[in-house]
C-alpha cells in the first residue's frame, strides 16, 4: 500500500509531507531506541559473546543437531500434508455428497475435529499408538505428530475444498449434469479440479501452518527442530542464540512458502477466463487468513 493512495489518508500536500517527515524521524529514533534497549539488555546478560555463538561455526552443531532436527520437521510436515490433502479431499467430497447421511457424518466429523486443539490430538494419537497398538521406539512420536496434524488439517482442507466448490459459477454444475454426468462424476471431473486450483494458495498457506504446528511434537518427544535446538542449547548453554537461529530457519522457510502462495494467487487472478475467486471467505475457517488476502497463513 503506498502512502499516496489509501482510504484513510489523502495524498499529502507540502505541509503534510513535512509533518510526515518529522514523525518519521521521531518514529525511527523511537524504534532504534527500542531495538537498542533490547540488544543492550541481551548484551549485558552476555548473550552476544563469542562463546554463545561460536557453536554455530562448528559443523557438528549443524550435522548432529540442527539439520537432523530440520529433517525431522520436514518429514513430519511432508507426510502430514500428503495425508491431509488426500483425507481433506475425501472429507470435502463427503460434505458435498448427494447422500444426506454421508454429508451429515462428514459435517459432524469436520466441525468436531476443527474445534479440538492440534496438541490434544497429538497427545491422544501418541498414547493410542503407545497403549492401543503397543508401538514404541522412534516411530511412535513421528506417528503421533503425523496423526495429530493430519486429523486437524484434513478438516481444514475439507472446508477449503467445500468453499472452493461453493465459489464456482453455478453453470459449472449445471453443464456437468446437462451433458449426462452423474452428480458424483460432475463433482469429481468438473468441480473438484477447479476448486482445488483456486484454493491452491490457501492450501500452500496451510502448509505453513503444518510446518509451524509440527513444533508441537516437542511435547511428545519428537526430535524436531525446536527439540533438537533445545538439546543443543542444554549442551552449549546458549539457549537464546539457539532459539534465534531456529526461529530464523522457520522464518526463512515459511517466508518462501508465503511468497509461493502469493505468486500462485496472483497468477490465478490474472488468468483471463479462470473461475472467479471466492468473494467472501467462509466464516470460522481458521485456515483462510484472518485477513482479506487468501494467501496468508492463519494463527493455527
Amino acid at each position: 500500500m503506498s502512502a499516496e493512495s489509501s482510504v484513510l489518508f489523502d495524498a499529502p500536500g507540502p505541509r503534510a509531507r513535512r509533518r510526515y517527515m518529522v514523525i518519521a524521524i521521531v518514529g525511527s529514533l523511537g524504534i532504534l531506541a527500542l531495538l537498542y534497549l533490547v540488544i543492550s539488555a541481551l548484551a549485558a546478560k552476555g548473550q552476544f559473546t563469542a562463546a554463545k555463538w561460536s557453536p554455530f561455526l562448528d559443523p557438528v552443531t549443524w550435522t548432529s543437531y540442527l539439520l537432523p532436527g530440520l529433517r525431522a520437521t520436514l518429514v513430519a510436515a511432508f507426510f502430514s500434508v500428503i495425508l491431509a490433502i488426500i483425507c481433506g479431499i475425501l472429507l470435502g467430497m463427503g460434505r458435498l455428497s448427494e447422500a444426506a447421511p454421508v454429508r451429515w457424518a462428514c459435517g459432524v466429523f469436520v466441525e468436531f475435529f476443527r474445534a479440538v486443539p492440534v496438541l490434544m490430538m497429538m497427545l491422544f494419537a501418541y498414547y493410542v499408538f503407545l497403549f492401543g497398538f503397543q508401538i514404541s521406539g522412534e516411530a511412535l512420536p513421528l506417528l503421533g505428530v503425523i496423526a495429530g496434524l493430519t486429523f486437524y488439517n484434513s478438516c481444514v482442507i475439507a472446508e477449503l475444498i467445500r468453499s472452493g466448490v461453493g465459489a464456482l459459477p453455478k453453470g459449472q454444475l449445471e453443464a456437468g449434469l446437462a451433458i449426462g454426468l452423474t452428480p458424483f462424476a460432475t463433482l469429481r471431473l468438473v468441480l473438484l479440479p477447479q476448486a482445488i486450483t483456486i484454493m491452491l494458495p490457501s492450501i500452500v498457506s496451510q502448509l505453513i501452518v503444518i510446518l509451524k504446528d509440527s513444533a508441537l511434537g516437542f511435547l511428545i518427544l519428537y526430535p524436531e527442530l525446536v527439540r533438537s535446538g533445545q538439546t543443543l542449547a542444554s549442551l552449549e548453554g546458549n539457549i537464546i542464540p539457539t532459539f534465534m537461529v531456529v526461529a530464523a530457519i522457520f522464518i526463512i522457510i515459511n517466508y518462501l512458502l508465503t511468497r509461493l502462495a502469493h505468486y500462485l494467487e496472483r497468477r490465478l487472478q490474472t488468468r483471463r477466463r479462470g473461475p472467479r475467486l471466492p468473494q467472501a471467505q467462509p466464516l470460522r475457517s481458521p485456515s483462510m487468513a484472518p485477513g482479506g488476502a487468501m494467501a496468508a497463513s492463519g494463527p493455527n
Binding site: L8, L119, M120, L219, V226, A247, I251, G291
Partner: protein, 228 residues
C-alpha cells in the same frame, strides 16, 4: 462409557483446568488486541518507517511457531535471563502463566493486526472520497465513515483469531501451565485404560468453548455486514 466419564470427572478437576484455559484466553486476547491494534495502526500509517516496522513484526511473528515463542519467553527470558513479570517474589507457576500470556499475546497480535488491516482494506476508496466531497474533515471522515465500516469488516477475521487463540492456549502446557491439555496428559498417564473417555471429555470441552464464539461472531458479522 458413562461410568467412565463420571468416574473421571469425580477423580480429576476438569473444570479447574478449563477455567485456566479460559483465563489464558481472555487475558491473552486483551493483550493481543492491544498490541495488534498498535501494529495495525503502524501498518496503515502514512509514514513509511512505521509501515515497515509493522510489516516486519507481522512477517517475523507469523512465520515463527508459537511453541518457539513460548519457549523463548519461558526458558529464555524467565529461566535463563531471570526476567520476572510483575511482582518479583511471585511463585514459578504464576510467572509461567504470565510469560505464557505474553507469548500468546505477542503471537496472536500479528493476526489481530492483519484482521484489522483487512477490515480497513475492505472499505472502498470511494467512501473516503465521498466523505471528503461532502466537506467532512479528516477526523470526521475517519470516525463517521471509514472506521465504522472497517470494524464491521474485521469482525469475522477477529472471531477466527479468537477461536484459534482459545485452541492455542494448549501450547503453554509445554511450560507447565495447568490448563486443559496439561491435565489431559496427566490423566492419560495415570488412567491409560480410559484414554478414549478422557479424549471425549477434553475435546468436548473445547467444542463447548469454541462453538458459541464461532456462532456469536458469525451472527454478529452477518448482522453488521456492510451491504455494498
Amino acid at each position: 462409557m458413562l461410568n467412565d466419564l463420571s468416574e473421571l470427572l469425580a477423580e480429576y478437576n476438569v473444570p479447574a483446568a478449563f477455567w485456566m484455559t479460559i483465563k489464558l484466553t481472555v487475558v491473552s486476547a486483551i493483550g493481543a488486541l492491544l498490541i495488534g491494534t498498535i501494529i495495525a495502526i503502524m501498518r496503515v500509517s502514512p509514514v513509511a518507517v512505521f509501515r515497515s516496522f509493522g510489516t516486519a513484526y507481522v512477517t517475523l511473528v507469523r512465520n515463527t511457531p508459537l511453541t518457539l515463542i513460548v519457549f523463548f519467553c519461558a526458558f529464555g527470558f524467565y529461566i535463563t535471563l531471570q526476567y520476572r513479570l510483575g511482582s518479583q517474589d511471585s511463585p514459578i507457576d504464576v510467572q509461567n502463566f504470565r510469560w505464557g500470556v505474553l507469548a500468546l499475546a505477542v503471537y496472536h497480535a500479528a493476526f489481530v493486526a492483519e484482521a484489522l488491516r483487512s477490515g480497513i482494506n475492505s472499505v472502498p476508496k470511494g467512501q473516503a472520497e465521498a466523505a471528503r466531497a461532502i466537506g467532512l474533515d479528516f477526523g470526521a471522515t475517519l470516525s463517521n465513515v471509514v472506521l465504522p465500516q472497517a470494524f464491521r469488516g474485521a469482525i469475522a477475521p477477529l472471531g477466527n483469531v479468537l477461536i484459534a487463540l482459545t485452541k492455542n492456549t494448549t501450547v503453554v502446557a509445554t511450560i507447565g501451565v495447568a490448563e486443559a491439555s496439561y491435565l489431559m496428559k496427566g490423566m492419560i498417564e495415570f488412567r491409560p485404560d480410559l484414554i478414549y473417555a478422557i479424549f471425549v471429555i477434553m475435546a468436548t470441552g473445547f467444542v463447548i468453548l469454541t462453538l458459541p464464539v464461532g456462532v456469536l461472531f458469525t451472527t454478529l458479522s452477518r448482522r453488521l455486514a456492510v451491504r455494498r
